[in-house]
C-alpha cells in the first residue's frame, strides 16, 4: 500500500476501535488509537501473513503485550480479513470471540493470549528463539506500552533477547506518554527508554512521530536490516490520536464514549477520511 492508502486504512481501523469500544461500553480507546497506525502498518505492509491461513507455521508473529489495546488489533485484523468487520460491535459481549484482552483460543489471527502486562514480550522472545532453533525465517513483533515497561518481566525478557542476539525480534514501545494514573514521567518515569534498551543490547530506533507512515516504514526497514541483535523501536505517539476530544487526555485511557461522544468521534474520523480522498 502507498502512504495515502495506509492513512485511509488507519482511519477505518480507528472507526473500528471507536465503534467497538462504544458498543462494549467499556475498553481502552486511548492506547488503541495511539497504536492504530502501527497496527495498520504491521498488518497491511510489514508482516508476512495470510488471513486465509492464519495458522501458517511460517508466518510472522505479532504479540500485543499491551493487551488492553485489543480493540486496535481486532480492528486491524477485521479490516485485513481475518473475520467480519461487523464482529467489532460484539467486543466484550458475552459469547463474542472478541474478549476484553486477546485470546489465542478465541480469535483468528491472534498469535498469543496477552493482557497481563509484561508477559507478552516474554512469549514473543520465546517465539523468536524457537525460530532460531529451527532455522525458520519468520519474524516476531511485539508492541508494549510505555507504562507497561515499568513491569520487571519486560527487562528479564529484554536481557534474554539481547543475550541471545535475537535479530528476528522487533520490540515496539508505544510512547504515548500517559498511563491510567497520569503522565508516565510523573507516575514512575520509564525514561530514558532508548538508553535502557541500548543497555540491554538492543539496536534502538527512535521514531519522532509514530503516527506517521513514512517514519514507521523507515524504522521497520531498518529493523529488518539489523543483524546480530534485536531491535527496539521507541515511537512517540499521541494517545487518543484521531479523535479530537481524546487526544492527549489521560481520562480516555480506559473509558468508552457515550452516544453523543461516539457521534463526534465518528464525525472526526469521517472528516479525516474525506480529506484523504481529496488527495
Amino acid at each position: 500500500m502507498n502512504k495515502t492508502e495506509l492513512q485511509k486504512m488507519a482511519v477505518e481501523v480507528r472507526k473500528g476501535i471507536v465503534t467497538g469500544v462504544h458498543a462494549a461500553k467499556a475498553g481502552h480507546p486511548g492506547g488503541s488509537l495511539s497504536a492504530a497506525d502501527v497496527f495498520t502498518y504491521l498488518y497491511f505492509e510489514e508482516m508476512n501473513i495470510d488471513p486465509e491461513n492464519p495458522g501458517d507455521p511460517g508466518r510472522d508473529r505479532f504479540v500485543l503485550s499491551k493487551g488492553h489495546t485489543a480493540p486496535g488489533l481486532y480492528s486491524a485484523l477485521a479490516h485485513r480479513g481475518y473475520f467480519p468487520v461487523e464482529d467489532l460491535k460484539t467486543l466484550r459481549h458475552i459469547g463474542s470471540h472478541l474478549q476484553g484482552h486477546p485470546c489465542i483460543q478465541h480469535t483468528p489471527g491472534i498469535d498469543m493470549s496477552s493482557g497481563s502486562l509484561g508477559q507478552g514480550i516474554s512469549a514473543a522472545v520465546g517465539m523468536a528463539l524457537s525460530a532460531k532453533l529451527s532455522q525458520d525465517s519468520y519474524r516476531v513483533y511485539t508492541l508494549l506500552g510505555d507504562g507497561e515497561i515499568q513491569e520487571g518481566q519486560v527487562w528479564e525478557a529484554a536481557m534474554f533477547a539481547g543475550h541471545r542476539k535475537l535479530d528476528n525480534l522487533c520490540v515496539i514501545v508505544d510512547n504515548n506518554g500517559l498511563q491510567i494514573d497520569g503522565p508516565v514521567d510523573q507516575v514512575c518515569s520509564p525514561y530514558p527508554i532508548d538508553r535502557k534498551f541500548e543497555a540491554f543490547n538492543f539496536h534502538v530506533i527512535s521514531v519522532a512521530d509514530g503516527n506517521d507512515f513514512d517514519q514507521l516504514k523507515a524504522a521497520f526497514d531498518e529493523a529488518r536490516a539489523t543483524k546480530g541483535m534485536p531491535t527496539a523501536i521507541v515511537m512517540k505517539t499521541v494517545k487518543g490520536k484521531g479523535v479530537s476530544f481524546m487526544e492527549n487526555q489521560v481520562g480516555w485511557h480506559g473509558k468508552a464514549p457515550n452516544d453523543e461522544e461516539y457521534a463526534i468521534a465518528m464525525a472526526d474520523l469521517e472528516k479525516a477520511g474525506e480529506a484523504l480522498c481529496q488527495k
Binding site: C103, S122, V125
Partner: protein, 313 residues
C-alpha cells in the same frame, strides 16, 4: 537385608528428558540457573543447543516456554517448585493456562524434604495453586519409575502439565513387572477394608510402611497412590470411601488445597465420609536434614502409622 534402591525424582526427571530428547527433536528444556539442582544439566550435556538457560528469571522463563509452545516446540520449563508455582504463578496461569499451551513445568525441590535450605525454598503450596488453573494437569510421582513414566506421559499429551519432583532420594516402589502409568488413574497398592490411605509423592512409601505397621495391629489399610492430583481418579476415591468408610490422605504439602482437599472435593459431592488429612499443617517448614524433617512433621512411615491409628481408634 538388601539395600533398598533410592533415587531422587529430580534425577529421574533429568534422565527421562535425555531419553525423550533422543526421540523428539521438538523437545526443548528451559532452566533458570539451576541446571545441576533440577538435573537438566544431563540434558544440556547431550543436547546443548536445545537447553535454554534463562538465567535467574523464572517469570520470563515461563513466558518464553509459552512462546516456544505456540510455535511448535514442547518445552519443559524447569526450576524449583517455589519459583515455578509460586513466583511465576500468574505467568503460568495467564501465559500457559489460559491459552492452554503445550508447556510442561518440571518443578523440583517440592515440599519440606528440600531440607537444609529451609522454609523459603520448601514449597508446600504448589499443588494447591496449580490445580486451580483450568486445564492444568498436576502430577506428583512417588518414585523413580513413576517419575520417568510421568515425564513421558506428559510429553505425549497435548496441554499444560505440572510435574512435581523431590530433592531427596526415595525408595523405588514401582519396579514390579505389571506397573503401568496412566495420567488420571490412581493405583491401589494394598488391599484393605478398615481404612483407605490415599497418598501422593514420597508419602506413598510412608503409607506403605504405615500399612505394614497397621497390619500388625490387625488393621487392614488400603493404600492408594494418587500420582495425578488433577484430574483426580474420582471413581477410585469414591470406591475407597464406600468400601472402607473412612480415609486418610497423606502428602508432603499443606493440608490446605492439596491432595487432601482434592479428595474431599470429590467425597463431599459423591460419597461423604470422614477424612483425616495428614500433611503440613498450615505452617512453614524449617531447616534440617530432610529425613529428620519428615519425621518431625510426621510424614514418615511411623508418623503416618501413628496418626492413622489415632484416627481409626
Amino acid at each position: 537385608m538388601s539395600e533398598v534402591k533410592k533415587v531422587a525424582t529430580r534425577q529421574s526427571y533429568g534422565e527421562a528428558l535425555v531419553e525423550l530428547g533422543r526421540e523428539h527433536e521438538n523437545l526443548v528444556v528451559l532452566d533458570a540457573d539451576l541446571a545441576a539442582a533440577t538435573q537438566t544439566g544431563k540434558f544440556r550435556a547431550v543436547f546443548p543447543e536445545r537447553h535454554i538457560d534463562c538465567g535467574i528469571a523464572e517469570s520470563n522463563m515461563i513466558g518464553i516456554a509459552a512462546g516456544m509452545a505456540a510455535t511448535g516446540k514442547v518445552p519443559f520449563a524447569s526450576t524449583f517448585a517455589m519459583f515455578a508455582a509460586g513466583r511465576a504463578f500468574e505467568q503460568v496461569r495467564n501465559s500457559v493456562g489460559y491459552p492452554h499451551l503445550n508447556v510442561k513445568i518440571g518443578a523440583t525441590h517440592a515440599g519440606i524434604s528440600v531440607g537444609e535450605d529451609g522454609a523459603t525454598h520448601q514449597c508446600n503450596e504448589d499443588i494447591a495453586l496449580m490445580r486451580t488453573i483450568p486445564g492444568m494437569t498436576v502430577i506428583n510421582p512417588s518414585d523413580d519409575v513413576e517419575a520417568k513414566a510421568a515425564v513421558r506421559a506428559a510429553y505425549e499429551m497435548d496441554g499444560p502439565v505440572y510435574l512435581r519432583f523431590g530433592r531427596l532420594a526415595v525408595p523405588v516402589i514401582n519396579d514390579g513387572p505389571d506397573y503401568k502409568f496412566e495420567i488420571g488413574k490412581g493405583v491401589t497398592l494394598r488391599e484393605g477394608q478398615d481404612v483407605a490411605i490415599i497418598a501422593t509423592g514420597l508419602c506413598v512409601n510412608s503409607a506403605l510402611e504405615a500399612a505394614d505397621l497397621l497390619k500388625a495391629e490387625g488393621i487392614g489399610a488400603r493404600v492408594i497412590n494418587i500420582h495425578t492430583i488433577k484430574p483426580i481418579d474420582a471413581d477410585l476415591v469414591v470406591k475407597a470411601a464406600k468400601e472402607c468408610g473412612r480415609l486418610v490422605t497423606v502428602e508432603e504439602h499443606s493440608v490446605i488445597g492439596g491432595l487432601g482437599s482434592a479428595v474431599c472435593d470429590v467425597l463431599c459431592e459423591r460419597q461423604p465420609a470422614p477424612v483425616k488429612k495428614i500433611g503440613v499443617q498450615d505452617v512453614f517448614g524449617e531447616s534440617g536434614p530432610a529425613v529428620k524433617l519428615l519425621e518431625k512433621y510426621r510424614l514418615d512411615g511411623k508418623g503416618v502409622y501413628e496418626q492413622v491409628l489415632e484416627f481409626v481408634k
